[in-house]
Amino acid sequence: MKVKVLSRNPDDYVRETKYDIQRVPRNYDPSLHPFEVNREYTRALNATKLERVFAKPFLASLDGHRDGVNCMAKHSTRLSSLLSGSCDGELKIWNLTKRECVRTIQAHEGFVRGIVVRFCGTSFFTVGDDKTIKQWKIQSPEYGEEEEPLNTILGKTVFTGLDHHRQEGVFATCGQQVDIWDEQRSSPIRSFTWGVDSFSSVRFNPVETELLASCASDRSIVLYDMREATPLKKVVMTMRSNTLCWNPMEAYYFTCANEDYNLYTYDMRNLEQPVTVHMDHVSAVLDVDFSPTGKEFVSASFDKTIRIFPKDGGHSREVYHTKRMQHVICIKWSADNKYILSGMEIFLLFSDPQLTHREREAINYSQKLKEKFQHHPQIKRIAHHRHLPKTVYHQSKELRVMREARRRKERNVRKHSKPGSVPVVTEREKHVVTVVK
């Protein structure tokens, strides 16, 4: 016999407090509630205004480094810790909730080039300009114990980047070549080269964990499979890519931050042209990190701004900057999708403290209203308005003019030449030079 039991969400019928109003059945006769579009429009307008009024994304800055912050790493199992390495070889571990430094290590001589926390969260690896890879414990040493790395590997060349496998004790470094290391060994288990160039970053695919991608200085992005002896494919672009980041929810998409002010999202199966070109920055993009939901990513640029792009949108939906912010070299999106951490300043992404049910519903409703009326000019104007530093503002204007001029010229050339002789090249096709198999 099948027994059906009523089960309701108490949120639907229980009052939040005893002072709250009781739910009353309503009459939904449309004649009793006229002017619905007009009323909702005003609500939407108010919601957008309020959103702008209360948008105060900057939360805190963590002070302590004596030199510029060169790299950062999120803790893999703890939300509250953050690791950062500076240009003087110092490494700091921060407690984000208390906003204080927990531990300082003089990790390397020269730059700390890369930090990565092991998937289990018990230890982390660093690489530096002193050609060493060091493994450290996350736990701070006990009283009287010396601050020493667990392991130190001396490499032949300088390492510029580092990433760890998501499930196994394997990590990858890049420099003159891309090396795959076993944690237990002092020599790489595999090293990939393809021509002579140096690599600026290497990243493991978080979903298909055996895949890697790296950015080389010869303007190329190279794909690897850890199990294969050779690299897989290489795409050469017009300008050099600084870093790349895999989408953590969509296995075959990655986004690279390019020197030509743009970011490119590629489908790794088809490197002939990027899926989307994200443009808004006015200077080289230095770092990119995906949100853990895989819906958006954040990019840091040389133009001293941080931008948030939707993964399939051509333009940014948000731009952050502060007065004291310099060229942002590294950026991270926190693992709970709430915060953005950039070269030592933290931005709150969504002001999302413990909301009550009704508050959340109200927010959802206003969000939907904004979405619904987003095309209305007044609302659009308010929603899209951002204050920008003067240089960025003017430069973006200049860029726009330049782009327009170029387009116009191309159009004219096409107009005055034999039909078909000047083909239309889309924005996506422009930036890929070749794909090397």
Binding site: P30, D225, Y365, H376
Partner: protein
């Protein structure tokens, strides 16, 4: 890699081709060797002759020395050939041996003169004719399979191939995620972190089964409990105890099982029977069945009267109650929805008529007075006394009974109508005339009948009262039973043919006074008679008509039942000439003509409407609408006398007449062929969307999305929740791990599961926007 493979294959092909050629050559050699030899000989002989010819020619030719040399060479060649021929006759073995001998001559022959390197080798083909068939085949395959190894590819090329293969493999592997990614992109809401446990209460089984002993102590205890089969979750009884409780003696169990089996079998048997009977559609069967049932009941009642008079009395009381209820209610009065619809259909449908009749009959049966035996007697007497006075039959009681249609006195109103309709359908003037007269008569009749009926009823009531009093006094218990019986029989008498005969033995012969007995057969007979009458009429009419026209006999038959279109329509239809559509053949034949014709057609089509004047009219209308109007707000009777024929004074009218501002020139006033709308409101335009936004195809789509409100003022709580749910929901303080492989498995499982459900889901989705649209339309209407 593929390319390289192709190259190889190409090479192979070339080689094979070469080989085949070679083989053919060799074969040709072997087969045609003898021929060649003979040819050679002839050639030699020819050459000898030729020499002489040459000699002759020499005289003619000035260049002798050169010629001589040539001749020498030729001689040499010929000789060689000869030697070859001879050597070949000798067999291969020697020649092979001969090859070993090496001298500083290019060609060394067996005979010490010279020999040719060619032909010294033994080709396989040389052996073929001598070998067996099997060996031949083997040789062929061997030749075919012979390969030389290719030079290895360069490192770059091999690496490239490796890379290509590896990339293919990886991209295939990665493409597995496609479905998951698509699914997530399409999902209305995504909850992060993935693999969350659903909130809310869990089912009890999960909670119980999920709990496991973790600590060593717990584990130890559980091991012990399990070993002893101790109950863990519900520590009341051990399984052994439960078993002992459940156990019962074997015999008992057997008996019980048998009982159960029997009862189950019986039940199933009865069920099957009932089902079978219910399925029978035959009305006759049911009629007979019911009759039999009734008989049975009657018998039982008889017995009951004898054995248990009290119970019989109760039964009778029940019947009385039923009658009372029937009289009170409007049931079976043909006043319900069903009956009305049937009444409409009754004109055309025999079955509908019958159904109505049945209803009325039922009503009659139920409402009929329960007549006791004593009553009957007295009533009879009364009737006999009054019979002379009341000549009219009491059809009023069963006024609605329509069985005897033929007799106008015996039919109620409904049947009359039916007949009317039939008459109308016949469309005969005479009939109409008759009918009119009959209607008048009928009205009079009805009134009389009503009066009579009331009288009758009054009388009956009096009689009844008298009887009651009498009964009380005179007869008591004995009579009561008889009364009841007679009552019962009188009730069923309508349904039975001969109820009297059955009951005669027990009680006095029953003679019905006021109530009339009528059976279906009677009714049917009457019907038959009626229809015969009608037929006669119709045939007469037909004959009449035949004098004017000559319709076919079939038509005449049809006319009996159905309404004829021609007869109903008073006006004659006009014949409209419509230009027929041109066939393609015609078009082919006369293209030019057709074109002209087309134009003509278009002209014809638009001949009526003058486009220009229409446009001008439209424009004038718009202009008129746009012009400022004078609004008159004068109210008569305010501030002065009002009433019929009084108009508000001029002064007042002037005062309350509001003139709107000066006439603004229209934008299109100087553009005669343009209408420009003046309705555009400049103050609103900055708030309006000027161009169609991206995802929408047309403006109606966009407008409809804007028109649907989202708030809880207009929508129910549930829809608001559904509409406003966030696309991505994350938890505060929960780490969102990248997607794992388990997600892939899950989606694959879901895919198969969802396929079955997808249809219903799509249907629901389709239904939803429609509903919303409807709402929006409703709202629009309201506003308007």
């Amino acid at each position: 890699m593929a390319k390289v493979m192709k190259k190889k294959v190409g090479k192979m092909k070339v080689k094979k081709g070469k080989k085949v050629k070679k083989r053919q050559e060799t074969n040709g050699d072997s087969s045609g060797e003898m021929q060649e030899e003979t040819e050679d000989f002839t050639a030699v002989s020819g050459a000898v002759r030729y020499d002489d010819d040459d000699g002759e020619e020499e005289d003619l030719n000035p260049e002798i020395s050169a010629d001589e040399e040539e001749a020498n060479e030729e001689d040499e060649r010929k000789r060689n050939k000869l030697v070859q021929a001879i050597s070949s006759m000798g067999g291969g073995h020697r020649s092979t041996r001969l090859e070993e001998r090496s001298e500083a001559v290019i060609q060394v022959s067996e005979f010490g003169v010279n020999a040719v390197g060619e032909g010294s080798k033994i080709e396989l083909s040389d052996l073929i004719p001598t070998a067996t068939k099997k060996a031949q085949k083997q040789i062929e395959t061997l030749q075919r399979g012979r390969k030389t190894l290719d030079t290895p590819l360069s490192r770059q090329e091999t690496e490239r191939i490796h890379r290509d293969i590896a990339f293919q493999k990886v991209s295939d592997e990665v493409s597995k995620w496609k479905s998951v990614i698509k699914q997530n992109q399409r999902a209305e809401q995504l909850l992060f972190p993935l693999n969350q446990e659903p909130s809310g209460p869990k089912p009890m089984e999960h909670v119980v089964t999920a709990w496991k002993a973790r600590t060593p102590l717990e584990q130890e205890i559980f091991a012990l409990l399990n070993a002893n089969k101790q109950p863990i979750h519900n520590p009341v009884l051990t399984p052994a105890e439960e078993e002992s409780i459940k156990a019962m003696s074997l015999e008992e169990a057997k008996i019980r099982r048998a009982e159960l089996q029997k009862s189950r079998a019986l039940q199933s048997y009865y069920e099957a029977k009932a089902r079978r009977e219910r399925k029978i559609k035959s009305k006759k069967y049911h009629k007979v069945h019911n009759k039999a049932k009734r008989k049975e009941m009657l018998k039982q009642f008889d017995e009951m009267v004898k054995t248990n008079p009290e119970a019989a009395l109760e039964e009778l009381k029940k019947l009385e109650m039923a009658r009372m209820q029937e009289r009170m209610s409007l049931k079976h009065q043909n006043s319900g929805k069903w009956a009305k619809s049937k009444a409409i259909m009754a004109k055309y449908d025999e079955d509908a008529r019958k159904a109505m009749q049945q209803q009325l009959e039922l009503n009659k049966d139920l409402t009929q007075k329960v007549v006791t035996a004593l009553n009957n007697d007295e009533e009879e007497d009364n009737e006999e006394e009054e019979g002379t006075e009341e000549v009219l039959p009491d059809f009023v009681n069963d006024a609605e009974k329509a069985e005897n249609v033929a007799n106008p006195w015996m039919r109620g109103k409904l049947t009359e109508e039916e007949q009317e309709e039939e008459k109308i359908s016949m469309m005969v003037d005479e009939a109409v005339v008759i009918e009119e007269s009959s209607e008048e008569e009928e009205e009079v009749n009805e009134e009389e009948a009503l009066l009579r009926e009331f009288e009758n009823r009054r009388q009956r009531r009096k009689e009844e009262e008298n009887q009651m009093a009498d009964q009380d006094e005179e007869e008591e218990e004995d009579v009561v039973a008889e009364d009841e019986l007679s009552e019962f029989t009188s009730i069923i008498r309508g349904l039975k043919e001969k109820p009297e005969e059955l009951i005669v033995d027990n009680s006095m012969p029953l003679v019905e006074g006021l109530t009339r007995i009528q059976t279906f057969e009677d009714a049917e007979n009457l019907d038959l008679e009626m229809s015969e009458n009608i037929k006669d009429d119709v045939t007469e009419i037909v004959q009449l008509e035949e004098t004017t026209k000559e319709p076919s006999p079939k038509k005449a038959k049809k006319r009996k039942r159905n309404i004829e279109l021609k007869e109903v329509l008073t006006k004659e239809a006009k014949v409209v000439n419509v230009p027929l559509k041109f066939t393609t053949e015609e078009a082919e034949e006369e293209d030019l003509e057709d074109e002209i014709h087309q134009r003509g057609l278009i002209k014809e089509a638009f001949a009526g409407d003058d486009v220009v004047s229409d446009f001008l009219k439209e424009k004038r209308k718009q202009e008129a609408a746009g012009k400022p109007k004078v609004i008159d707000l004068t109210l008569p009777g305010w501030g002065e006398w009002g009433g019929l024929g009084l108009k508000p004074s001029k002064n007042k009218r002037r005062k309350f007449r509001i003139k709107t501002g000066p006439v603004v020139q229209r934008k299109d006033s100087k553009l005669p062929e343009v209408i420009m709308s003046e309705q555009r409101d400049k103050s609103i335009t900055p708030h309006q969307v000027s161009s169609l936004p991206f995802p929408f195809d047309n403006h109606t789509q966009f407008e409809s999305t804007i028109r649907c409100p989202l708030g809880r003022t207009w929508n129910s709580e549930k829809t608001v929740k559904k509409v406003t749910q966030a696309k991505v929901v994350t938890q505060l303080g929960a780490i969102i791990e990248p997607m794992g492989r388990e997600e892939l498995k899950k989606s694959q499982q879901n895919a198969s599961h969802q396929k079955s459900q997808s249809q219903t889901a799509t249907n629901q989705k389709k239904a939803q926007p429609e509903r919303r649209k409807k709402q929006a339309q409703k709202r629009k209407k309201h506003r308007e």
